[in-house]
């Protein structure tokens, strides 16, 4: 009797700590709303679209106990080649955007082959791919900045579909449609991770790849699929990056992947594998971007904001470790 009661009380405690990250996000959101209202929402969204897609993709990879360091440069590589296809080869924009997604997916697939079949450590395989992506984009464009068409110019229709509406839209001007697409993708990937074989195997591989293999899962093709999906996400991130930032500068993009990884980690994805959720990751992404806006609202200089973001990443992981410790304590009881 005594034991059961104890178990329940610890259990309750565990649930409370789980709410800390969402609560922190809500607090930041409310502060932000008081600072600048709708502008706060729009600004936070604008800055987090491409990070959101990367974070979702890398969450799958991190759950398998892997890592993808090539996300950032792959997205720039994909976006810059798409821009090149538009500016130099004069392909229709639809084709160019498909090229962006295809290149992201291909690079992810190659990561998957290297990790699953050649047994390269994910850190090394994707580190190499990071440089390959950076180099490839620069080679194809001959190291020139590619600029996508700006709002109002021909070819910029994709921006009004994927990013935000303009004055001539039936919905009115400045509606952040990107939020709709990101939510849609958020739901799709949540279903993928929680309700499908693909998702269950992702967790299984991350928890114990050997056990997964012995229980009959063909781990190599599934692991390849996880990296390919992550590459696909970096392609989508590339499209969003092009829509929001227009100018794609060659040999940039390294460092962006860390924003995605930080989002996943703040959201409770464990680098040891087997743990992580898509809602957690999105909360992580928005904690970062809300925090940025709120600190700006308080008049902090940008470098101070980077500094504080770093502290938040560390605190979030510490909190998470403590939470997991609590939950294993429960199991011991």
């Amino acid at each position: 009797m005594e034991v059961k009661k104890d178990y329940l009380s610890t259990r309750k405690q565990f649930d409370k700590t789980k709410l800390l990250a969402p609560a922190f996000m809500v607090v930041l959101f409310v502060i932000g709303l008081f600072q600048s209202g709708f502008t706060f929402i729009v600004n936070s969204l604008d800055a987090s679209y491409f990070i959101g897609y990367m974070a979702i993709g890398v969450t799958f990879v991190i759950i398998t106990a892997g890592i993808d360091l090539s996300l950032g440069t792959n997205l720039i590589c994909a976006a810059i080649i798409g821009g090149y296809a538009y500016n130099a080869l004069h392909l229709p924009m639809v084709w160019c955007l498909l090229i962006v997604v295809a290149i992201g997916t291909t690079l992810g697939f190659l990561n998957g082959l290297m990790v699953a079949y050649l047994k390269l450590p994910p850190f090394i395989a994707t580190l190499g791919m990071m440089m390959i992506g950076m180099g490839l984009g620069a080679i194809v464009t001959n190291v020139t900045t590619e600029r996508y068409p700006t709002f109002g110019s021909p070819g910029a229709e994709f921006k009004t579909i994927f990013y935000k509406t303009t004055a001539d839209s039936p919905l009115g001007a400045g509606i952040p449609l990107g939020a709709f697409w990101l939510s849609l993708f958020f739901i799709i990937s949540m279903v993928l991770l929680n309700k499908t074989k693909f998702g269950r195997y992702t967790y299984a591989i991350g928890s114990n790849i050997e056990a997964a293999r012995l229980s009959g899962i063909k781990t190599r093709p599934w692991l390849t699929a996880v990296y390919t999906f992550c590459g696909f996400c970096s392609g989508l991130a590339g499209v969003m990056y092009a829509a929001v930032y227009t100018s794609i500068i060659p040999s940039t993009g390294n460092g962006f992947e860390l924003l995605g990884i930080a989002g996943a980690v703040i959201g409770g994805t464990s680098l040891m594998g087997g743990l992580g959720t898509i809602p957690g990751t999105m909360i992580g992404v928005f904690i970062m971007s809300f925090l940025k806006q709120v600190l700006f609202g308080w008049g902090f200089q940008p470098h101070v904001q980077t500094f504080i973001s770093g502290i938040v990443v560390i605190l979030a992981v510490l909190l998470d470790q403590w939470r997991i410790k609590q939950s294993t304590k429960v199991r011991k009881v």
Partner: protein
């Protein structure tokens, strides 16, 4: 067996991608071998006998700005009958690559070296070697700040402080009334968005703008003008009361997302005008204002806000054409490249050269951007 197969598949895929890249760039790539060729040929032909060989190492290659600099250098080389090579690291943070490039260039014993240093300290040894070997070094663009004694003979560069001051003068024309109307109870802000507080050229523009704006504002609001934001420029108003605030914001890094974030923050403070000091912050401002359309004079969210940019690029030119941006300052990249080679040749001929040659800057807006003199300096 399977492993071998996978290796082959990976290799084949990568090769085919690279091959696609090569094929697609067949036309523009011809430019690269052309510049590389004399570099490999130079050591074979002893310098004194043939044309003098001048190595040019810039801070970048990717920005079209550098391509225009290169065009100026190429023209000067053709006119003055010298051989040149033009190289630059892939990005302006690749200090290590630039050091390697300088080392490689020095190994070819050039008659002179033209250099836009990313970081003087990391090139100290090489610059000292130039002094020892008697290779004159000409700085260009942002030049070589704080060089070892005797290494830099001359520098061809935009006077960045003057360029910043031009921006301040142009902006003051439109915000003068609002500045005059400001009171301590209802203070106004003028904003500068900048990058990297340690880069000499961008710091110079910021300083030039802040000083000139301070001077202009003091004329109408004596004693009530303060400079706030980044501590390098911060200065309290002389009377202790503030009616006009000149705010300096430095983006957290040179990436477009970080510049966008800085611009978003600045826009929220409702400034009277914004000066973006380089193409990175201009890209950030464009991203923060839906490619500039939020600055539309009739329908935009910030329709009364004059923004002045720097340099050019298709999206900035488009924003100026549509009057979204009030205007921009352009350097003269062509003259920077031309003068660098010209100065090097003069030094080689034993002529006396001034310490700094100002290659000039120009303000342009939708009115004059198509004038031939301006148009040749703008690039898509």
């Amino acid at each position: 067996m399977k492993k071998v197969f996978v290796v082959l598949v990976v290799a084949a895929l990568m090769l085919s991608m690279a091959a696609c890249g090569q094929q697609q760039t067949a036309a523009p790539q011809t430019a690269a071998p052309a510049t590389a060729a004399p570099a490999t040929a130079a050591p074979a032909t002893p310098a004194p006998a043939g044309k003098p060989y001048i190595a040019i190492i810039s801070k970048g290659f990717q920005h079209k700005f550098w391509q225009t600099v290169k065009a100026g250098s190429d023209d000067a080389a053709a006119k003055l009958n010298v051989d040149i090579t033009f190289e630059g690291p892939p990005s302006e943070s690749d200090i290590q690559i630039q050091v390697d490039m300088v080392n490689a260039a020095l190994a070819k014993n050039p008659a002179a070296l033209c250099l836009a240093a990313l970081d003087t300290k990391s090139l100290n040894e090489q610059l000292q070697a130039c002094v020892d070997k008697g290779i004159p070094v000409i700085g260009f663009d942002s030049g070589v700040p704080n060089p070892p004694a005797g290494s830099i003979k001359s520098t061809a560069s935009t006077n960045n402080e003057a360029a910043g001051a031009v921006a301040a003068d142009e902006m003051f024309k439109v915000i003068k009334d609002a500045v005059s109307a400001a009171t301590t109870a209802k203070p106004v802000k003028v904003a500068v968005v900048s990058q990297d507080a340690t880069s000499a050229s961008i710091t110079g523009r910021t300083t030039g703008f802040v000083n000139e704006m301070l001077k202009k504002c003091e004329e109408v609001q004596p004693g009530k003008v303060a400079v706030t934001g980044h501590t390098s420029w911060a200065k309290a108003s002389s009377s202790g009361e503030t009616a006009v605030e000149i705010t300096v914001t430095i983006a957290a890094s040179t990436s477009v997302p970080d510049c966008q974030a800085a611009c978003q923050a600045v826009l929220q403070t409702n400034p009277l005008g914004v000066f973006c000091t380089n193409s990175g912050t201009v890209d950030g401002m464009l991203a923060a204002t839906s490619d500039g359309s939020d600055l539309d004079r009739a329908t935009g969210k910030y329709k009364n806000l004059p923004v002045i940019g720097f340099d050019s690029g298709s999206s900035l030119l488009n924003a100026i054409k549509k009057k979204w941006f009030y205007g921009a300052i352009t350097q003269d990249p062509y003259m920077i490249g031309y003068d660098a080679v010209d100065l090097a040749v003069k030094v080689l001929n034993g002529e006396k050269v001034p310490e700094i040659v100002d290659t000039g800057c120009h303000f342009y807006n939708d009115q004059n951007m198509n004038d031939p003199d301006i148009a040749k300096l703008l690039y898509e």
